[in-house]
Symmetry: C2
Subunit: 420 residues, 2 copies
Amino acid sequence: MDKKNAFYAQSGGVTAVINASAAGVIEAVRENNATIGKLYAGLNGIVGALQEDLIDTSKESLSDIAALKHTPGGAFGSCRYKMNDYKDSPAEYERLIEVFKAHNIGYFFYNGGGDSADTCLKVSQISAKMGYPIQAIHIPKTIDNDLPLTDCSPGFGSVAKYIATSTKEASLDIESMSGSSTKVFILEVMGRHAGWIAASGGLAAEQAGDPPHIILFPEIPFSRELFIKKVEQTVHEKGFCVIVASEGAQYSDGAHISGSINKDAFGHQQLGGVAPTLASMIKQSTAYKYHWAMADYLQRSARHIASKTDVDQAYAVGRAAVEMAVQGKHSVMVSIERGSGKKYSWSLGEAPLEKVANMEKKMPRSFITKDGYGITQKARDYLEPLIAGEDYPPFKNGIPSYVRLKNVLVPKKLPKGFKV
Amino acid sequence: MDKKNAFYAQSGGVTAVINASAAGVIEAVRENNATIGKLYAGLNGIVGALQEDLIDTSKESLSDIAALKHTPGGAFGSCRYKMNDYKDSPAEYERLIEVFKAHNIGYFFYNGGGDSADTCLKVSQISAKMGYPIQAIHIPKTIDNDLPLTDCSPGFGSVAKYIATSTKEASLDIESMSGSSTKVFILEVMGRHAGWIAASGGLAAEQAGDPPHIILFPEIPFSRELFIKKVEQTVHEKGFCVIVASEGAQYSDGAHISGSINKDAFGHQQLGGVAPTLASMIKQSTAYKYHWAMADYLQRSARHIASKTDVDQAYAVGRAAVEMAVQGKHSVMVSIERGSGKKYSWSLGEAPLEKVANMEKKMPRSFITKDGYGITQKARDYLEPLIAGEDYPPFKNGIPSYVRLKNVLVPKKLPKGFKV
């Protein structure tokens, strides 16, 4: 049989829209059944390939695949598993190729961030070296928005919409309370290395001076003294202060804010993170009553308030990966390109994987205000289209109706398992 | 002039729908302008009455008032201010009556929880004693759902919908990650004295065994040993464990879970709350990777995912308060009554304020499973209708479009301010 099968896997932290990419891949493979055979999904990402745990996506109904477009999380399971270099761990790669050979897999679609782009590149290189050609194509995904060579990363727009909306809503709450009670509200958001998510909190402000009053970016060295001064000044002027803090916010020496104050009873570094640490600083320096929130997984799974732009792009990059494969392409990442017109438009392109892997795109300094605590109009112009549009999931009994796939495993063909 | 004016104020923690009650009051007062004069709103709750900071709601446009129905927070400002007993603080009450007299106010609409019901009752009693009759009517509001003599409290249904939805979404996220990474997710929710909000997390489960696997209620004494055992058992069986923990969860001696482990570097009781404390316990007893989230204000301001049932009820109780006043009623709270049919229905009633004030309605034991970690079908039957229906706000530039009122203050008539 000449027609090769395909493998798809989800990698790293999941998002509200990674399943939309999966839907794009699955639907496009079905449409291209003259060229591509079956599509197998890795159970728990690349680990599924290594352990020969392959899900037969042809067992899923059309309607369940369509429902992936509005279902958060990773429908096939994701993983945090970084493949080593070939020279350090040849057995891993040999095993991968062995599994791919056994199941006649010639297409490798990997859906993830920077680390996965690196894995995707390695698979492509090793397969050539081992004489079993695999067309490896990377499908971008990361809420951190730090992938290079693409205007944005699917997953980010929906987190950004959630954070902008939540910041606006919580700001109205604290403003109501500030007359006689809470004066400071801190929202901790994700983004360990880049401040894109924190920046999206700035979209809550419709006019200059609107909350959030302080955004803490990983890109701007934190000064406790200046921070407290800014909080006091803001409460003095506005009556309250709203802070959006990136989990990656750090001092000039690279030490993270979190962990700098609290230890638990056993002397362990604290559990908390940036928000409770900032709250502690405010408690020590001022008399303000404060509240803080830690959105954690809520922000990246909040499909109920996904960005329509983001959903559309996530679905489109999945489809495009398959179309590129059919065109014979490999070792590329599908990229999103922004049109040059004043009105936002986007199209898909491709970027060579060796230029994508393991690079991080941080916030440009020009996106951050001079004082380091806000976003500029340039940042707003970049961010706003990415959160545009609503795409509500269907609801049942008051909560969103999300799909659960059957995830039928393909019978194993290899004699024994592989320990990862 | 015979026609009396009315006073309306928001009290305590605000909600996603308290402004819908305000809209109901304002619109009903305008419709009843043959009986009631102007409606003044207190700037920052009852404090606005004491300080003669009265907002003239007649300056607001019809469309802005209508937009209150989809705007979270307290549009006139709320307060955390408890009136003392008359015998301890007669000056406060005398001041109130003085302000009401000066502005010809004969109707007092107070929108809040148990404490405010108490204030409302006192105002009613004192006004009679001081010979200046005030029709005091309480409009129920509390996310805690702990007001007695009403089937539910406006504000609760929307928080419940947010928590149920967020729990479901985060559960899909951690399930995807659990193969190789995070095994435990903890969501801390509000509700210091009653477990209604925590219980709503249980609605995320569609089938027995679905997450959340553990709910911690204030009503059930916490045992660290049993908790860890249950977490381990769940991870063993399901591969991961989702926990919804009430901020009010406590040991059998009444000590709160939060604060039982962490102290900051200065020896202060920790900042964290229940979620990080539970995370610390898990860290000390198991090798599981965990994540935790603290929804805080996000949960009670999340108008973008409000329950339509809740919005409708919040608006209706506001209108009903005015209609009751027109009928000459006073010293009552508007209540929500559930129909006896199988299909959910509700209507409005009234409850005498002296029976409402300062009582808390806790979760009945029959709503909690035998092991203390889940909700029963009875709880589900009670809760589900309260989160039913969606009522999305309009969006602009990717975020909800919320109204900001003009809040024009009435010129003061009294010589000097009053310090609260």
